[in-house]
């Protein structure tokens, strides 16, 4: 009797613990490899690590050095230029395309497929395609010259001051279709009866969109902003493939800065500090977003 009671208690225990047991490997992985690693890198940012991790604490020295570095200043400036243009252009273009596509377009599905396919590509592929297309020697400029427009000049990618804008061009090409899809979904979610009511109230199409439709797209704007901002901060592959950070350091972003300082310049402490700053900026955007999403669910 006692033994059967024991095994039954054991079975009950197992049954109750099973869901948590199933979840635990994933949870453990995330705790160690995400949060443990974040803490580790955070710790490194206060050490004198160079080529290898080292554990001599140096306080805020790495952060002080980081913000004195010209390369970091350039990376931050570039991020601000790239990020704001990228977000603004993607949103405007995405919204415009979504509204155009929402007018009972005949081949809507087909057109949507074309607008969205860049999202399926690797940034390395995108970078390669645009790198040579924008290359003055063989790309757009050479084509124009061969067509007889000898004075045509488009050398941004070789120009220290303009190269960052070529990153914007390629990045917008890749993601604007996705933003369009987000806005289109938002438009499709709007209650038709509200629009009918506004029309009966005498609203023109323009007023309808400006006063009724676009204000209702707030959640879509919110999502688009969060997604785009987080992609901008993490941008790495595209820069590597398109400009390699050049000419010189003209198109370095925090992500490329972190990589080169940590792994090629052997300044791991400074690299860790720059990664920490990237994490903080992404957390500032994502944490409130995720928190509000999870709260709504309950």
């Amino acid at each position: 009797m006692a033994t059967t009671a024991n095994t039954r208690a054991g079975n009950d225990w197992l049954r109750n613990a099973l869901p948590k047991l199933v979840l635990s490997p994933s949870f453990a992985m995330v705790v160690i490899f995400v949060y443990g690693f974040i803490l580790f890198t955070f710790y490194l940012s206060f050490t004198d690590s160079r080529i290898l991790p080292s554990y001599g604490l140096v306080g805020w020295e790495n952060y002080a050095k980081l913000f004195k570095l010209r390369a970091w200043g350039i990376a931050i400036d570039n991020l601000l230029i790239f990020g704001s243009l990228y977000i603004i252009i993607c949103c405007l273009l995405g919204l415009a395309l979504a509204i155009l596509l929402d007018q009972k377009i005949r081949a809507e599905g087909f057109i949507r497929t074309i607008y969205l396919y860049p999202m399926a590509l690797s940034f390395i592929v995108t970078g390669t395609a645009w790198k040579w297309f924008l290359d003055p020697g063989i790309g757009l400029q050479a084509v124009m010259h061969s067509w007889g427009w000898e004075s045509f000049a488009f050398e941004w990618i070789k120009d220290r001051d303009m190269a960052i804008y070529t990153i914007v061009i390629a990045a917008v090409w890749q993601t604007s279709g996705f933003v369009m899809a987000m806005f289109l979904a938002g438009l499709r979610g709007i209650d038709n009866e509200v629009l009918k009511a506004a029309q009966i109230d005498g609203a023109s199409n323009w007023a309808l969109y400006r006063r009724i439709v676009i204000p209702q797209l707030r959640p879509a704007f919110m999502s688009a902003f969060v997604v785009l901002a987080h992609m901008a901060i993490k941008s790495y592959d595209l820069i590597i493939a398109l400009t390699g950070g050049g000419p010189g350091t003209a198109t370095e972003l925090p992500a490329t800065f972190m990589y080169s300082y940590t792994f090629t310049r052997n300044q791991m402490g400074i690299g860790a500090a720059s990664a920490t700053i990237m994490l903080m900026s992404i957390a500032a955007i994502m944490v409130p977003y995720i928190w509000s999403e999870l709260r709504e669910k309950k």
């Binding site: 995400v34 929402d102 993490k234 999870l294």
Partner: protein, 293 residues
């Protein structure tokens, strides 16, 4: 997508419609242009590109650039073409996608149908893990892979992608299972089914669509990854993206643009095919990953 276009309310005249279609067509050209450039230039001899003919159709059609990109082009130190790296990518993607999808499904099942105190916090922690800048984990992960003896190997890459892919898989399945009627699970409990039986007999048969979404998303993400590939692979374990970048950025010899374009298409082809075949699911995945719920 829902069919209630606001167009059913908004009426546009013939002139306006012409403008709309023209604009839409122009943007089609804009999005297709790089693809066109890649395709036509991968099929013409180098001399035609150098002579300023990037936008023209090939005068002389050739598949030599494709052959070169696939089998003989110089990648790093070896003239192997992209083929071995394509294989590496497949060996990396398949297990990483399979395992993260299975774990994601189980996690989503637990987080929605076997809720417990603190489950939302756990989910939040998992979710945030998807969005961190991976620069923050590169240094310790490099050391960890070394300790585990996986540094510079394909299994090492599988492991990394698995770890950082679970969050998204879990997100997809959790949001999907949240819509799944809990009464069905309760009915099965009363019928005597246990944890795994309910999962296998009740949940899984209804999980087809979300599994496709999840697999496509993971496949696309992992195939297209560059940062982990560049950080944690050796010459013989590089994935396709890294090899392509090496091919394009190599500074020795003449730049064989046509070979670069052929290589770029090869790297793009698997995800592009998936997109064309199952675009609907791809878009669903994108939306669920951003506009959650």
């Amino acid at each position: 997508m829902a069919t209630n276009a606001s167009s059913q309310v908004v009426r546009t005249g013939a002139g306006a419609r012409f403008v709309i279609y023209t604009l839409l067509a122009i943007f089609c050209l804009y999005y297709l242009l790089p693809l066109y450039v890649m395709v036509v230039n991968s099929l013409k001899p180098l001399s035609e590109i150098q002579a300023g003919g990037m936008m023209s159709l090939p005068r002389e059609w050739t598949v030599a650039p494709w052959q070169s990109a696939w089998a003989t082009a110089q990648i790093g130190v070896a003239a192997t073409g992209l083929k071995p790296y394509f294989v590496n990518s497949i060996l990396m993607v398949v297990p990483a996608v399979a395992i993260s999808t299975v774990l994601g499904a189980l996690n989503g099942y637990v987080l929605t149908k076997w809720r417990f105190r603190g489950d939302t916090i756990i989910f939040g922690l998992l979710l945030f893990g998807c969005f961190i800048p991976f620069q923050m984990v590169l240094i310790p992960m490099a050391r960890m892979l070394g300790l585990m003896g996986l540094a510079g190997t394909v299994p090492g890459l599988v492991f990394v992608h698995l770890v950082y892919g679970i969050g998204f898989s879990t997100l997809y399945f959790r949001n999907y299972y949240q819509q799944f009627p809990t009464e069905l699970v309760r009915a099965a409990m009363i019928d005597g089914a246990g944890f795994f039986t309910i999962f296998r007999r009740i949940m899984l048969p209804s999980s087809g669509p979300i599994a496709v979404v999840c697999i496509i998303w993971q496949f696309t993400n992992i195939w297209n990854d560059f940062l982990f590939g560049a950080s944690f692979s050796d010459f013989d374990s590089q994935p396709m993206t890294v090899a392509l970048n090496n091919l394009v950025q190599s500074s020795t010899g003449v730049k064989e643009y046509n070979v670069h374009f052929a290589g770029a298409i090869m790297a793009a082809l698997p995800t592009l095919l998936v997109y064309i075949v199952a675009g609907r699911y791809f878009v669903r995945g994108l939306m669920a990953g951003s506009v959650k719920g």
